[in-house]
Every structure is written in structure tokens, then in C-alpha cells.
């Protein structure tokens, strides 16, 4: 009987006892008296802290505060990816302060440190368009499309740059490719229509604008463009009707509303 009780007790003990608790090894502390090594530790810590403070500042919209933090990180010259990221975040703060030349310089530095930094290329194109630097915007857009040929943003960005620079053929190719993957993107149909119109392909332009308007019926700018294309094709009554509808739909865009009304009134329909 005692033997049975002892056996039962042993079984119970074995069942309830878990594996021995293990402890993670303590985080190794930097133990050095080397001045360069200590300086590197201090710099790394400062970089991390300034990133945290700078990003908080950007979240609050405190762009001047963000510039101070990221500028200091750039001076500390941390290794990748922190170096290019600091330049990228610095550029974002500059752009929001309307200091677009400084923003462009910081983004160029980011791309020089990380040649495949797509977000930096995307932002540099946007900044260059705001600065009116179409040659650099085009160079960066070409590189962006080469690195990410299926990227919707790369195709859109280069298409817009090409349209602004008068290269309707490239714009037509890029917006066509963008629409192949995103057929319901009305904005790209509108820009493709502009490229077609500039190439004198009015039927294709009209088709794209009708598609854009089917996707977004209150798209006043597309409606206005349709009026222009119809006018070029000699369809005055239809053009006048399109301008009238654009005037009504462009309530939030006074400039477009005025020009649409002027176009509507300039067409005399018997």
C-alpha cells in the first residue's frame, strides 16, 4: 500500500513539475574605454533619439523642429539606411516649408547614398515639378521607371512630366501601361486623352474622356477636355453642351468654371 502511495506521489510530482525556467542572457553592455568606440555609441544613441523627436515633430506639423533634428542627424553622418533616411525625412520637412530647392538637394543626397530608394525618387519628381525643373524630373522619372517598371506611381509621375514637357508619345505609353493594370483609374484616362489630343488622335482622346466620365461622372476637368476635343472635331453643339455641364460640375474650381463658361458662351449654336 505504501509502495503504491509512493508511486502515485512520484507520478503526481512528475506531472506537475515543469521544465526548468530559463533566463535570457543579459543584454551585453558596451564595455570599452576606447574613445572612438564610446563616441560611436553616443552618436548612435543620439541618431535614434533625434529620429524619434523629428518624426514626432513631422506628425505634429512642426516642420522647423523636424528640420533641426534631421539636419543634425545628417551632420552625424550615420551609416545606411539611417543616412539616406535622414536626408529623405529632412527633404519632407523642407518641402512642407516651401523650401523646395533645399528639399531637392536633400533628396538627391538620399538617392546618392541609396541608389534604389524609390520613395526618394518619387518625392524628388514631385518637388522638381513644383520647382519647374522638368529636365531633372525627367531624368529621375526615367530611372524610377527603369527600376520599377510596373510601379503605378513611377508610370504616373513620368507621364505627368512628359505631358508638361511636351513629350506626348512617352506620356501616351506610360498612361496606357498604367491603365492596363488599373483600368478604373479615371485620372489616368484623362491624362491619356490629353496625350492623344496632342498627337492629333481626337477619336482616341474622345474615347478616353468618355471612359473617364463613365468612371467619374462629375469629373469637370474631363468634361471640359471633352468639350475641347469635340470643338476640334467641329461638333459645336455637343461641345457647347459639354462646356455647359463642365461649368455646372466645376463648382469647386472657380478658374475652370470661368473658362468653361467662356467657352460655352463663345459657341453660337443656331
Amino acid at each position: 500500500m505504501r509502495v503504491l502511495l509512493l508511486a502515485a506521489l512520484l507520478v503526481e510530482l512528475m506531472a506537475t513539475s515543469g521544465p526548468a525556467q530559463t533566463y535570457a542572457p543579459s543584454t551585453p553592455l558596451p564595455r570599452t574605454t576606447s574613445v572612438p568606440a564610446l563616441r560611436a555609441f553616443a552618436n548612435a544613441r543620439e541618431v535614434e533619439e533625434r529620429f524619434r523627436i523629428g518624426l514626432d515633430a513631422e506628425t505634429r506639423g512642426d516642420w522647423k523642429g523636424a528640420v533641426a533634428e534631421f539636419d543634425r542627424i545628417v551632420v552625424l553622418n550615420p551609416p545606411e539606411p539611417k543616412g539616406s533616411t535622414a536626408q529623405y525625412d529632412l527633404a519632407l520637412a523642407y518641402a512642407n516649408l516651401q523650401r523646395n530647392d533645399d528639399a531637392a538637394r536633400a533628396l538627391r543626397a538620399a538617392i546618392a547614398r541609396d541608389p534604389e530608394f524609390l520613395a526618394a525618387m518619387a518625392n524628388l519628381i514631385a518637388v522638381d515639378l513644383a520647382r519647374g525643373d522638368l529636365p531633372e524630373a525627367r531624368r529621375i522619372a526615367d530611372r524610377y521607371v527603369t527600376l520599377a517598371p510596373d510601379s503605378a506611381r513611377a508610370l504616373y509621375s513620368r507621364g505627368i512630366v512628359a505631358l508638361q514637357a511636351g513629350d506626348a508619345t512617352t506620356a501616351r505609353e506610360d498612361f496606357g501601361k498604367l491603365l492596363h493594370a488599373n483600368p478604373s483609374y479615371a485620372v489616368a484616362h484623362y491624362d491619356l486623352a490629353l496625350a492623344e489630343e496632342r498627337l492629333g488622335r481626337f477619336d482616341a482622346a474622345q474615347r478616353e474622356l468618355n471612359t473617364a466620365l463613365a468612371l467619374a461622372p462629375a469629373y469637370a476637368r474631363a468634361r471640359f477636355a471633352l468639350g475641347v476635343v469635340l470643338l476640334r472635331q467641329g461638333e459645336h453643339a455637343a461641345a457647347r453642351s459639354a462646356f455647359a455641364r463642365a461649368t455646372a460640375d466645376a463648382a469647386g474650381d472657380p478658374a475652370l468654371k470661368n473658362i468653361a463658361a467662356a467657352m460655352r458662351d463663345s459657341i453660337k449654336v443656331p
Binding site: D89, L129, A148, A186, A225, R232
Partner: protein, 89 residues
């Protein structure tokens, strides 16, 4: 004699005035046509540039967590932070 001169002069003056009027109106008509053409040429403006992509943490652009880099590479227009379709609320 005076009557003969005045008879030939009046139609001439009238003709010159008429011609001047036609030229004057024609000039405005041409100017109007030119301005209409200029209006048409300048009216079709491309869509706006996309908005800037947002900040990136100290971890850098590599990795699934970096939204701006993902947006820059996305094939889908909806995830690329491009201008939205105008009817989209």
C-alpha cells in the same frame, strides 16, 4: 465742276471708310479667333503631381513596414498614393 468732284469724292470716302471698318472688325475677329485658340491650347492641363510620400523611421526603407517605399513600388494605383478619382468621396 465742284458738283462733279463731290459726286466722285463721296463714294470714294465712303468706300475708304467701309474698307477701314472691315479691316477694323476683321482685326478684332482675328484677335478673337486667336484668343479662342490660345484658350483651347492652354485649357487642357495635365493632372496634378502626386502628393509627397510620408516620413520613414530610422529602420529605413527596406521591409514590409515601410509604407512610403511600398507605395512607391505598388502596381495598384489605389495603394500608390496617387490623386484620387474626382468622384471618389
Amino acid at each position: 465742276m465742284i458738283e462733279a468732284v463731290s459726286r466722285t469724292l463721296v463714294p470714294r470716302v465712303f468706300a475708304v471708310a467701309l474698307l477701314a471698318g472691315i479691316l477694323f472688325c476683321g482685326r478684332f475677329a482675328l484677335a478673337g479667333a486667336a484668343s479662342l485658340q490660345e484658350m483651347l491650347d492652354g485649357a487642357l492641363v495635365p493632372s496634378s503631381a502626386p502628393a509627397l510620400l510620408g516620413p520613414i523611421t530610422s529602420a529605413g526603407r527596406i521591409g514590409w513596414e515601410c509604407k512610403p517605399e511600398r507605395a512607391a513600388a505598388a502596381k495598384d494605383a489605389q495603394h500608390s498614393e496617387l490623386p484620387a478619382n474626382p468622384s471618389t468621396p
